[in-house]
């Protein structure tokens, strides 16, 4: 169970040069898309009435079903998107050069900044109720999809050469390659990342179910809206009920969906040895013993797969040339056409964006600069606090199977409860303190992102070879020397990987952490997240555009100039392989 982690968290970062031409194009692309959304948003009607959210406990099951349905729809969308995007990037060199940096940037676009873009452009073409529903799903999608793309792309590019060659010599069609090689090979990574995606979705559920843009009120019935409404009315009984319902849903999903899937997916391990303690699930055992599942398998699944195979087995072959000759890879002619069109569009879009940004007054820009600095400081504080506790605890869990057996389930359940749901309760306590809002913002960032670090450090600690631990004992290293010569160097790559994800998450969380409504009042602190949330609420699209772009630029620059360098160093010097 524990050693699984080392496989999943190993290499989340694509090894790239620091900054290239593709990054420039990609940045421009994102700028233009956001600009286009903002443009559309400006043209929508000024006032829209939302539905009313009931706080009665009996609505909770219904609301929960609505929320889970939304999450599931978004997840299916994410998975489908990831499978296509990752495959195109992995198998087409020319696409890879644009798609991977694009992903990197998209990851750092704050979820709420997608909101007006998505929602208002949708409500221009769809009925309002449908538009809100679709927008919500798209928003949840943006919190779920990126790590799925990464892990799928990574799997495709690390399929062992000889398995790939076997598939080619036996002339597998695209469908067979996908079903027999690619999907099974990626299954475990996809599964763990799906769990992470769902956790990410829950975190932003409240943001994704309640949007008020200026006077336009789009609200959806769901757990997130329920919690938000309860917090607004300061109804702590309802908050408690809402949280209980949410935790129940999460635990049920864990027991009835994720655990069984993990137990089932154990067969997709690449290792040629039996694992000593494979993941288990009581529900999976029940399912396997039940006749109905066997019947379904024999009567429904197998004929279905056979039918699909018969239908798709003759799809053309994919030429996988990653490790092959590629003496000369030619771009298809239409790629040039697409590139030219995109290029022209970009130039026009960037010019338009520039014009819009030029209308933002200087005072606003200085606000944004201060905000970015303040948020950066908060992100750093949250990261330092997270490191301070996750390193010792992670090492304790990772090196001690007995403690792991006790703490692991606790940690996993705790980690899956979205911090945003607990936030109103937290505020109640913290708002009494001096600088309470600032503390609350940091705590929320911390709660949202510390788990990435903890899981990575557990993975790193588990991966330390037993021989080295014995050696350091035999050498009678004292505690400090042991940490300095063995643990910290061994953990370094994992700490960096975790910190990259955590800091990215913290930036994104700043939007919900720096600006919140409680008891009908708006509380906010200085920060770029608060600026974005405020701009959204006020419908100030110029500010929204400027603040969002500033945040993206900052995050991308920090990633490229700081984290990626550290990561490369970690990979080169401290990797234990």
């Amino acid at each position: 169970m524990l050693n699984l982690f080392s496989g999943i968290f190993k290499t989340q970062q694509p090894a790239q040069r620091t900054f290239g031409w593709a990054d420039g194009i990609v940045l421009a692309l994102v700028v233009v898309v956001i600009y286009a959304g903002v443009r559309l948003a400006i043209d929508t009607p000024a006032e829209i009435e939302g539905p009313s959210i009931s706080l009665a406990p009996e609505v909770l099951p219904y609301y929960a079903v609505r929320s889970v349905g939304r999450m599931a729809a978004a997840y299916v969308l994410s998975l489908g998107f990831a499978l296509v995007y990752g495959r195109v990037a992995a198998y087409h060199h020319w696409a890879e050069q644009v798609l991977m940096p694009l992903l990197d940037v998209l990851q750092s676009v704050p979820i709420l900044s997608f909101l007006p873009v998505v929602l208002l452009s949708l409500s221009a073409v769809l009925p309002q109720g449908v538009a809100a529903e679709v927008a919500s799903i798209v928003l949840i999608f943006t919190s779920q999809v990126w790590n799925l793309v990464f892990v799928w792309y990574q799997s495709l590019t690390t399929i062992p050469g000889e398995l790939n060659e076997a598939a080619t010599t036996f002339r597998f069609s695209t469908w067979m390659r996908f079903r027999t090689l690619e999907l099974p090979f990626a299954a475990i990574g996809l599964l763990w990342n799906s769990m992470m995606s769902w956790a990410g979705g829950w975190f932003f559920l409240m943001a994704a179910e309640i949007f008020t843009v200026g006077e336009k009120d789009f609200r959806l019935l769901g757990l997130g809206a329920y919690l938000q409404e309860a917090a607004n009315q300061e109804d702590y009984r309802a908050i408690g009920m809402g949280i209980a319902a949410l935790v129940l849903v999460i635990v049920l999903l864990d027991q009835l969906v994720w655990r069984p899937l993990l137990a089932w997916a154990d067969r997709f391990k690449l290792e040629m040895t039996e694992s000593d303690n494979p993941p288990t699930s009581w529900f999976y055992d029940v399912l396997r013993a039940a006749h109905i599942t066997n019947w379904l398998d024999g009567r429904v699944r197998q004929p279905l797969m056979r039918g699909l195979d018969a239908l798709l087995v003759r799809t053309p072959q994919t030429s996988v040339t990653r490790n092959g000759t590629n003496g000369r890879q030619r771009r298809p002619w239409f790629a040039y056409l697409v590139l030219a069109a995109v290029g022209l569009g970009l130039v026009y879009g960037v010019a338009q964006t520039g014009q819009m940004l030029a209308e933002v007054p200087a005072a606003q820009w200085s606000n944004i600069a201060t905000g970015v600095a303040a948020t950066l400081l908060r992100v750093m504080i949250a990261l330092v606090i997270a490191l301070a506790w996750t390193i010792p605890v992670g090492v304790l869990i990772g090196t001690n199977p007995r403690i792991a057996a006790v703490l692991q389930p606790v940690v996993q359940i705790t980690a899956s409860i979205p911090a945003t749901a607990l936030f109103p309760v937290l505020l109640l306590v913290v708002l009494q303190l001096p600088a309470g809002l600032n503390i609350a913002a940091v705590v929320l960032m911390l709660m949202g992102t510390q788990w990435y670090l903890l899981f990575n450090i557990i993975a790193g600690a588990t991966a330390i070879p037993q021989e080295l631990k014995f050696t350091s004992t035999l050498l009678r290293l004292n505690r400090w020397e042991r940490w300095r010569t063995l643990l910290l160097p061994a953990l370094f790559p994992y700490i960096i990987t975790g910190a990259i994800t955590a800091s990215g998450g913290a930036w994104n969380a700043s939007i919900v952490a720096e600006y919140f409504q409680l008891g009908g009042k708006t509380h906010q602190v200085t920060g770029v997240g608060a600026l974005i949330a405020d701009a959204t609420a006020e419908g100030d699209f110029h500010l929204l555009l400027a603040a969002t772009l500033s945040m993206i630029l900052t995050v991308v620059l920090i990633n490229r100039l700081f984290w990626r360098r550290l990561y490369r160093r970690a990979e080169e010097q401290y990797r234990m392989e």
Binding site: L163, T168, R171, M176, L270
Partner: protein
């Protein structure tokens, strides 16, 4: 029109781009006829596996033609299949599914392919293991599945890519025997076998013809018929005689010194790469030879005696000969008086001998000259590596720099700082410090 089953004409394969482009194989011509079992041997990096991938159509050569039954090969060769070193079984499929999947890809209906795959598993002696997963099997049994899967598509040309080298000694031996039995007995529809191996004894034991390749660039240097009837006896004088001859082809002909040592990087002529060995291993070899009667042994026995792979033995003997510690003739390696002295010397004396010897190597002379010419006699590791990439593949270039550092440190000719990745000229002061 020739009657060859397979013909390679002027095959050249290059990897990489621009200045980093290097030649994996150059102008290889080779023909295989029906009924032939051909083994391809040579040091690692000589392009054997590349050639195999070109034959099967997995890779396209940059120059030259692959003719199959006289027709130009385009894309994957439908009549060829590969048995892989690492078996390349799908771990999530059962033994039977692994065989069936090859038939499924050809569009064979489910009931037919089930029958066929069970037959094949019977043939390789795996009946009863149909529902097992590969991870439940031993290495030898996994490779049997690999063979059954390859046979399933009834290939005319069966390619073995180091198919026995990941197995333990006994499994490998029995699997070789079983394959030979199927092949010589005509139980399989296969028309020809092309085997890539680094195990020279295996090649002589199984093949009708041994094609010897050398590297930099990868090319065919000899094509030797094995005129022995099956089954062959490893201990028979005839077998040993042929084995000796093949080793002699590989382990070095006596040539004038400028050819023997090659030229320095950047000069005209072939740059002789440093053999990929550590000084400790070389010392071990020389000590071993020193203790054998007459300071002499058959090269092929070294593998067993030192418990090393064939590639390592080749590299070691090459190094010993290059430095004048041993001579190789007719498949025997003999310690020179210098080698004897080295083997019996103590550490400081050894370093001195080693330093004297490696200074004559053009590659080393070049490294030292570069260092002396550099500012403060310091040189970034990457400078050397990039310079070498003009003549070697990126991996090989990096490896050559590592070797130069390793050898130079031992000889105390240079020092190296791992943190700054800088080479220094070792001087009296730094030795004292």
């Amino acid at each position: 029109m020739t009657g060859h089953l397979l013909e390679l004409k002027g095959i050249t394969q290059k990897y990489g781009r621009g200045e980093r482009r290097f030649t994996a194989v150059e102008n290889v011509n080779l023909a295989i006829d029906e009924g032939e079992f051909v083994a391809l041997i040579g040091p690692s990096g000589c392009g054997k596996s590349t050639l195999l991938r070109i034959v099967t159509g997995l890779n396209q050569p940059v120059e030259g033609q692959v003719l199959y039954r006289g027709e130009l090969l385009d894309g994957v060769n439908p009549h060829a299949t590969i048995v892989f070193q690492t078996f390349a079984l799908f771990p999530w499929l059962t033994v039977q599914q692994n065989v069936e999947v090859a038939l499924k890809a050809r569009g064979m209906p489910p009931n037919l392919r089930t029958v066929r795959s069970i037959d094949l598993l019977d043939m390789v002696g795996l009946d009863g293991f149909e529902t097992a997963f590969p991870r439940e099997l031993s290495g030898g049994m996994r490779q049997k599945v690999g063979f059954a899967r390859a046979m399933a598509v009834e290939p005319e040309l069966l390619c073995l890519d180091e198919a026995f080298s990941a197995l333990d000694v006994l499994s490998a031996e029995s699997l070789r025997g079983e394959l030979l039995e199927l092949w010589t007995g005509g139980a399989i529809p296969t028309k020809a076998i092309l085997m890539v191996t680094h195990n020279i004894e295996e090649a002589v034991l199984m093949a009708d013809r041994v094609v010897v390749m050398d590297k930099q660039p990868g090319r065919v240097i000899a094509d030797q018929k094995i005129p022995l009837a099956h089954p062959r006896q490893r201990k028979s004088p005839e077998f040993l005689d042929v084995l000796d001859r093949v080793y002699a082809l590989l382990a070095g002909q006596t040539q004038p010194e400028h050819i023997e040592l090659g030229t320095a990087p950047g000069e005209a002529g072939r740059t002789r790469a440093l053999p990929d060995i550590s000084v400790g291993e070389l010392a071990g070899l020389l000590e071993f030879l020193d203790e054998t009667p007459n300071d002499r042994i058959d090269v092929y026995r070294l593998e067993q005696e030192l418990n090393l792979g064939a590639t390592e033995v080749l590299q070691l003997t090459e190094a010993a000969e290059l430095l004048g510690f041993a001579t190789i003739a007719k498949g025997d390696i003999t310690l020179t008086p210098l080698g004897e002295t080295f083997a019996e010397a103590r550490i400081l004396a050894r370093k001195e001998i080693f330093a004297t010897r490696i200074r004559r190597l053009p590659m080393f002379r070049w490294v030292l000259a570069m260092l002396d010419a550099a500012d403060k006699a310091q040189l970034d590791r990457d400078v050397l590596r990039l310079a070498l990439e003009l003549e070697f593949s990126p991996e090989d270039a990096a490896r050559q720099v590592d070797l130069a550092i390793d050898w130079g440190r031992y000889a105390e000719l240079l020092a190296y700082d791992d943190n700054t990745e800088t080479l220094y000229r070792e001087t009296a002061e730094t030795v004292a410090g």
